[in-house]
Symmetry: C2
Subunit: 270 residues, 2 copies
DNA sequence: GAGTGGTCTAGACCACGGT
DNA sequence: CCGTGGTCTAGACCACTCG
């Protein structure tokens, strides 16, 4: 089960290829890819450091005597768990531990309140999806202000958000300054912060990145994301709804006092 | 882009196969499986009802003129988004909307407090994983009480949890009643509830089900789960840590006042 | 036993990142 | 340009469920 080093070449200049080992994964009732994942997982902890690049897929597959598709199934799972990072044209690297991002502060607050973490991209009018319109209480097909924002963590984008604000929520908005750009986005947020915030509710679920979100997150379309839906209440109405998609591979969402909680990847153990 | 019905047989007794259509998915810059997913997604909303069983994979693949593996890639994504449910030996069915499960009540509370939703399975001594031990502040290798619980929603298991309680947190526990079963589990929870709860922190991340959790959730090992890690503080120490894995396909985790929030599957739109 | 989804293979070509 | 991961094919066999 452990990873015996390859017999030849055990000098101090052992390459990444050497350290992966060549343990066969036959003779197992469990699927090959599952066993393979376990073996690789242990190798990652023992023999590799964060950021290090693994041998390429064709080579790994040959080394473990499996088809490339089978190997990829194992890599996919490890990537889903945030242990690996794969980039086309570059290679597969060992991922750093997931970053904890706080998604629920002590006190409820309007988006854009403390100008923290989130970076406004732009603002446009759009007809929200029916599900969002239902939450907002607007008529189907009614256009609402839609502010796009990006959340950065240590310089990299970890989340993309669409904030939907019905015109009724921001009556003070000067319709003259309605150029579709970042200026209008700031105006909408400013008006929103004037309102009294009654409360907010959040939910988290698994989803896959839409094409535009994927681009913003530097991922391929369909990449797994954690979808955080927030509903902001004011004057007994829903004043705004935010749908934020967080990169599931790199993010750990924290609630309550954000503290150093367990990393999922440290919980590996079959 | 829409789904033209098959030319032949448009009687009122159209079968499921008919309603899937035969729209070709070539002539596309985007990947076939992505386009396929979109087409199927629309068909699910338009032509199918919850619980209905789809044509089998070989037939769908033939109908869309793609390899079965390609079709499966599309189905996989739809399942990840909670739109489909696949069971070996049975078939692929249209999944009901995700159920909202509350994972953070208004006021912090000890596990087992209101005997709600969670069902105690058993209790044993175990040496928690290093990451958990670090959170607990116990020595590596130290054995702690480990209560296994299951969360039911409408009769089906939606989450499996391991609650780790160091012996120091429950000094009043009579070591005589230390039979490894449910009785001890209840005793541990009872003692825990005697303590003053100072606060709790939670985090959510994506993971894949370990073999035992998968069994408890009626899923295959490796199935996507939302891992909720909770830390309970008392007397300026970490009194307990809970690691709960929720079925990502069927669950929507709610925070704050649990309300009818948006369903991710209603947010589909590329 | 028949039918389903799950696993696996051995190829091929494509899209992208860096050189 | 080359090497990488991403997509796709056309098969095969296995594990499971159910009648």
């Amino acid at each position: 089960m452990t990873l015996p080093a390859v017999g030849h070449r055990v000098t101090e200049t052992a390459t990444a290829e050497d350290r992966v080992g060549t343990t066969r994964v036959d003779t197992a009732a469990e699927p090959k890819y599952w066993h393979l994942k376990t073996v690789l997982s242990e190798a990652l902890e023992t023999e590799f450091t964060v950021g290090e690049v693994l041998p390429n897929e064709r080579e790994l597959a040959a080394r473990f005597n499996v088809a490339r598709a089978t190997l990829r199934q194992a890599l996919e799972q490890l990537e889903l768990e945030g242990r690996l990072q794969r980039r086309r044209g570059v290679g597969t690297t060992v991922a750093p531990p997931r970053v904890g991002v706080s998604v629920m502060e002590e006190r409820p607050a309007w988006p854009g309140a403390d100008g923290e973490a989130w970076q406004t991209v732009d603002c446009a009018d759009s007809t929200p999806l029916p599900a969002v319109a239902r939450l907002l209480g607007t008529a189907a097909g009614e256009r609402v202000h839609t502010v796009r924002r990006t959340r950065l963590s240590y310089g990299v984008a970890v989340a993309a958000e669409s904030l939907y604000v019905p015109a009724a929520s921001v009556p003070g908005l000067s319709s003259i300054a309605a150029s579709g750009g970042p200026a209008r986005a700031r105006a909408v947020l400013r008006e929103l912060n004037r309102l009294e915030l009654q409360g907010q509710e959040r939910s988290v679920e698994l989803g896959s990145a839409r094409a535009d979100d994927a681009r913003q997150l530097d991922r391929l379309p369909g990449a797994p994301v954690l979808v955080v839906t927030s509903r902001y209440r004011s004057a007994d109405r829903t004043a705004a709804v935010a749908v934020a998609t967080y990169r599931a591979d790199t993010c750990r969402l924290t609630f309550g006092e954000s503290g150093g909680l367990v990393h999922q990847q440290d919980l590996a153990a079959s």
